[in-house]
């Protein structure tokens, strides 16, 4: 989805420059909430606050309708073999996808050994303790703010 977005908003409609797109991408990745809200930023640049809301709605609604229909079917299929097979069979596959996400994200955000170390320590805390993850994320953010991560 992202390459297509870049193509349209930078090369075709010239709403933003290449650099602005990269920055806006970074903001949308790091800000709380779904990273798809990059469209809110692009919409804002293209047509102000109204553009921001319009772009956001446009990216949510069509797919949302489809997902809604699928979820209705899913509830009806409660005890069917296909649903049982998907729930059991997709679990290992999904864990693989989640690891892929972590891997790709880690390679783009962790820049040197200090951030790798921080990721490793945080992962150990999440796995072996019951500390509220929010506290850990906030502490890591503070370390970044203090410049400990270079």
């Amino acid at each position: 989805m992202l390459p297509e977005m870049h193509l349209r908003s930078v090369n075709e409609y010239h709403w933003l420059t290449d650099n602005q797109f990269a920055d806006v991408f970074a903001i949308s990745q790091a800000a709380p909430g779904p990273s798809i809200l990059i469209v809110t930023l692009i919409g804002y640049k293209a047509a102000g606050v109204f553009g921001a809301f319009l772009a956001t709605a446009a990216v949510i609604v069509p797919a949302g309708v489809l997902v809604y229909l699928v979820s209705r079917f899913w509830e009806h299929a409660a005890r069917s073999p296909i649903r049982m097979a998907i729930e059991k069979g997709f679990a290992p596959l999904t864990v693989g996808l989640v690891l892929a996400t972590a891997y790709v994200l880690g390679r783009s955000t962790d820049r040197d050994w200090r951030s790798y170390l921080l990721t490793a320590v945080c992962a150990a805390v999440f796995i072996f303790t019951k500390v509220n993850p929010l506290i850990v994320v906030a502490a890591a953010g503070l370390m970044g703010f203090l410049g400990w991560l270079g």
């Binding site: 800000a31 949510i60 797919a63 997902v67 998907i86 955000t109």
Partner: protein, 191 residues
């Protein structure tokens, strides 16, 4: 909501619309620096017990396959499960309202001042922790579903094809999903 205490199939309490809005808002706000999927699991499965582990995992894969943004799709899916159409709206509204406002403020700041340096430093740290939370999710969910050689093989091949080789998601799933379904089909000999 009058029906807020009825039991669903899994035996969990059925959340009201307000709870849906509030919970998805909580998920969204917790995910600064990234890691939204991990936060969704943390809150929907671990904290609230709204869904079982396998139900959550399969729903999140379906939401990746369907077009659109998987995180918003998941909100629609979970919202619809508990509250039909109003539920879907409530979940999406909760997930996006505050983040849209935050992103909007950041957009205005960014296009005015062209840089938000201390913000970027904070995010650098938070992103490292978000990656860690996602890794922790792999370990925690993996422990529950990766028993035996076949699931481990499915897991590894998905990771390598999609993560390391960067094959497109749909291509990877076109290869791995049928194998997963054959393995997991209830009428087959493994039960």
């Amino acid at each position: 909501m009058s029906e807020s205490a009825t039991l669903t199939e899994s035996g969990a309490v059925k959340p009201s619309l307000w709870e849906l809005i509030w919970t998805f808002n909580q998920i969204a706000l917790a995910s600064f620096g990234g890691g939204l999927s991990a936060w969704s699991r943390e809150i929907l499965v671990v904290e609230k017990h709204w869904m079982g582990e396998e139900e959550f995992l399969s729903a999140s894969t379906m939401c990746r396959i369907l077009p659109g943004a998987n995180q918003i799709n998941l909100a629609v899916f979970v919202g619809a499960k508990f509250g039909a159409l109003p539920g879907a709206f409530a979940a999406v509204f909760g997930l996006t309202l505050i983040p849209v406002l935050i992103v909007l403020v950041l957009a205005i700041l960014y296009f005015q001042f062209h840089d938000v340096p201390s913000l970027q430093k904070i995010l650098h740290g938070a992103a490292a922790a978000a990656v860690a939370l996602t890794l922790a999710m792999v370990v925690k969910t993996g422990r529950k579903c990766l028993h035996g050689p076949i699931p481990i093989l499915l897991f590894l091949s998905t990771f390598i094809l999609n993560g390391v080789l960067r094959w497109p998601l749909l291509l990877v799933l076109a290869i791995v999903a049928p194998l997963s379904l054959i393995w997991a089909w209830p009428r087959s000999k493994n039960k």
